[in-house]
Every structure is written in structure tokens, then in C-alpha cells.
Amino acid sequence: MKKTAQSLAKNAVMAAALAATAFSAQAAELDIKLYNLTHGITFTPVVVAAHDSQTMLFKVGDTASAALQKMAEGGAIDDLSSQVTTAGGVVVENPAQGMLGAGAMTMAMLDTQDNMYLSLTAMLLPTNDGFVGLDSWKIPSEAGTYTVWLNAYDAGTEANDEIINGGGASGTPGIPVAPNSDGGTGASGVRSTESNNMVHIHPGNIGDTDATGGISDVDSRVHRWLNPVAKLVVTVK
């Protein structure tokens, strides 16, 4: 029995070696570092995906998918992640093991196999449906270290009312939470409608300085940003 097990293990190793050979022309080992560059915005769990040219997490100028909406409004990456793996892509989920705060960095390693494109998303808190994104960056074939600056996008699925009420489910108005307990309460709301329902560049938070009222539960001194909101450093080995 023992011998058989060893033999099986050996076969498995060989199979793995063969598989590696088959993909060696395109496979890339990536070391990834993601820096949150904002003043006071928190990233929810990050999903990093390597995929083919037909797959995407999002695209500017297109309507958000239900999976993207779920991530952008509530931070849940499971549907985005399974869409990628179903299509033959590979993902790293939640490398920071939770929230990635302002000023923080997280690292991930990714074997892209035969996938040529890299994408990334994470929700921005506190926002209604803002997210940091990378859409289908072509993974360089040459070994080296590459820096990519990432922008904040608006999923276009929820009006930016800036009311913190726990609303994180798709279609539920409001912001789920200000993770650093630096948000307000009792805001009347910045806006109740949004005319651009495509994925677009986020116009930014408005905020106010009234913690118990005003138009916004977001603090204009803490929760604003300008692009870029993140730096991605990718080392192709």
C-alpha cells in the first residue's frame, strides 16, 4: 500500500511537471503589492484575478454586472471570484485578511497559468458604490517590476446619498459602515438619484463637518480623495 501511495504521489508530481511544461510558454508567477494611497478610505477584501481576454470584473462605460454591484455596494467578492474561476481564470481572495486601511499595504502571490490579463477590485468605505479597480491590465511577458496607479470608480448602481445606515445589500440605499467609526449620523442625504448608471470614474465624496446632521454622514475632512487611490506593484518573475 505504501509503495502504491508513493507511486501515485510520484505520478502526481510528474503530471504537475508536465502541466507546468505545457503552460510554460505563457505562465507567469506574480508577486503583487497593493498600497492604499487615500487619506481616510478603507478597502474591503480585495479580489485579484488573472483571466483571459473574454473575462472581466468590470468595464468603464458598461453597466455593472450583478456580481460587481454586490462587491461595490456591500464589499462581497464571492460572485466576482466564482465568475472568474468558472471562466478558467485564477484568483487571490482577501490577501489582507479583512479590511485594508488607508496607508496600508497587502501582498499576494499569483500563478497566472495561461491567463494574460490582470484585474482587481475592492469596495471603498465609506461610499455608496465606489470601488478601486484595475480592468484587464495586460501582464507583461518580460520579467521585471511594474507599477500601476489605480483609480476610484462608481458602479453607477446606487445614488451617492452618503447616508451611513448599514445598507450593503444590492439595491439597498445607504453606506454599510465607516470602518474607523469616523462617520456621522442623521444626514439628510446628498442626492437620491444618479443619472449615469454605467461604471464611471467616481466624482468623489462630498461630506460635511456635521457629525449628527447635515447633508452627509461622510466627513469632508477625512473621507475625500483624488485619483489615484491605490498603487499596484507587480513583479513578473
Binding site: 468603464v60 462605460g61 483609480n151 453607477g156 446628498v190 464611471h200 466624482p203 462630498i206 483624488l226
Partner: protein, 239 residues
């Protein structure tokens, strides 16, 4: 010789935002002079598809100006004074003065506003070896004098079937104070071009708009705020 392709309805829209008289000067002017046959710099015709996507939340873009010119031409330079042609476009959305610039060999215009979240595409053709530089320019109409685009894109090395991608910054023409009142877009329907220059008089990166949440009297609401980039440009060589 200059070839202009200007669909009539673009000028109708322009007249709405810029207060011009409807249809004045409206024509499709395809100059058929024989001069071109004598041009020594002519080569086979290169065709490009240019797509512009409006990435803003609520800033419609004026009819997009696409022009072909030589390598030494820049339609604007950050830190320098805006030309009159750029001022007219950046304050009122009228791109016709850009098309008339002597440096411009061929000019195309979008046939209407480019709404937030939407894309428009054009097929452009270049047949002049020395005029293979493309400029794209358009106004953010819910502003006093914000514009965006890219000037002097070298098309000559793009091979058939290949694409180039750019994202663009919002510039402030520096020719009109940002009072957020005298703006021609649907948020205010106010004044467009005015030849008075009452701002810093140099092109610079736009500081953004404040909106009525922060500026008393502003005709803008928070949705009109924007951050860079404001458009995405894709250029594909078709033949």
C-alpha cells in the same frame, strides 16, 4: 486644402449651448480641389477608428473635435495661454475655430453631445505623411471653461489592427473665472463664450468644481463633480 466633415445636427446642438443662430454656417464641406494631387506628401490612405468614452458622472461633453496636423502643432500646452480657438471651445463648446486653425489639415466633429457613461466612435482617414498627428478636444459643458482631450498623438507608427489607449485629464482653460454660474450646460443654461479673460490666463489642471454644497450661488449640484481621468480614448488602425 482642408477637409471638414460636419454633420448638420452638431451645429444645431452647438447653437443651443452656445447661443449661436441656428444652422448658420452649417455645411458639409468636402473640398474637392485638385491641389491634393500635387501634394508631394500624400501617401496611401490610412484609416483609424477613434472611440471616446465619457467617464464623468454628470458632465456632458460638447461635440468632440478630432483634428489631424503636423508634428510641431499642439492645440494647447499646460502652463501656456490658451489659444482663442481653445477658449471658444472650452467656454462654449464650439469647436469650429479649432477646425479653422491654419495648422489643421483635416477636421472632424462629433455629431452631438457625448453623454456621461456613453461612447462615440468615428472613422478618420489620413493620406498626408506630414499630418499624422491627432488631437482630440471637447468641453465639459457643466463648467465655466473646463475641457479635456489629448493633443499631438502620433499615428504614424500604429500598425493595421493595433490599438492605442489613452485616458485624459480635465484642464482649465484659465480664460474664465470658475463662478459656476456662467456655464452653458444643462445645469445652468448660462453664458458660453465671452472674449473677456478674467482668470489666470494659462491652461492648467482643473481644480474641480465645488457645487452648491460648498459654494453659495453655484448652479452645480454634487453630481457635477468630477475627478481624473474624464475620458478614455481608443484609437485602432483599420487599414
Amino acid at each position: 486644402m482642408k477637409t471638414q466633415f460636419k454633420p448638420a445636427h452638431s451645429l444645431v446642438w452647438l447653437s443651443l449651448i452656445a447661443g449661436m443662430s441656428v444652422l448658420s454656417g452649417c455645411s458639409i464641406d468636402i473640398n474637392g480641389d485638385d491641389d491634393d494631387d500635387k501634394d508631394k506628401d500624400m501617401h496611401e490612405s490610412y484609416h483609424y477608428q477613434v472611440t471616446v468614452t465619457n467617464l464623468t458622472q454628470a458632465q456632458p461633453l460638447s461635440p468632440v473635435s478630432l483634428t489631424l496636423h503636423n508634428a510641431s502643432t499642439k492645440l494647447w500646452m499646460a502652463g501656456e495661454m490658451a489659444s482663442s480657438a481653445i477658449e471658444v471651445m472650452a467656454e462654449g463648446g464650439d469647436n469650429s475655430k479649432i477646425a479653422e486653425l491654419s495648422a489643421v489639415k483635416m477636421a472632424y466633429s462629433g455629431d452631438g453631445i457625448l453623454m456621461p457613461g456613453h461612447s462615440q466612435s468615428w472613422m478618420i482617414e489620413s493620406m498626408y505623411e506630414n499630418y499624422m498627428y491627432l488631437s482630440v478636444a471637447t468641453m465639459l459643458v457643466n463648467t465655466n471653461d473646463a475641457f479635456t482631450g489629448k493633443t499631438g498623438i502620433d499615428l504614424s507608427n500604429l500598425e493595421v489592427g493595433m490599438s492605442m489607449h489613452y485616458t485624459t485629464m480635465a484642464y482649465d482653460a484659465g480664460t474664465e473665472a470658475n463662478d459656476e454660474i456662467n456655464l452653458p450646460g444643462p445645469a445652468a443654461g448660462g453664458e458660453g463664450y465671452n472674449n473677456t479673460r478674467n482668470d489666470v490666463d494659462r491652461v492648467h489642471i482643473h481644480p474641480g468644481v465645488l457645487s452648491n454644497a460648498e459654494l453659495t450661488g453655484s448652479m452645480l449640484s454634487p453630481e457635477h463633480k468630477f475627478d481624473n481621468p474624464v475620458t478614455k480614448i481608443t484609437i485602432t488602425r483599420m487599414q
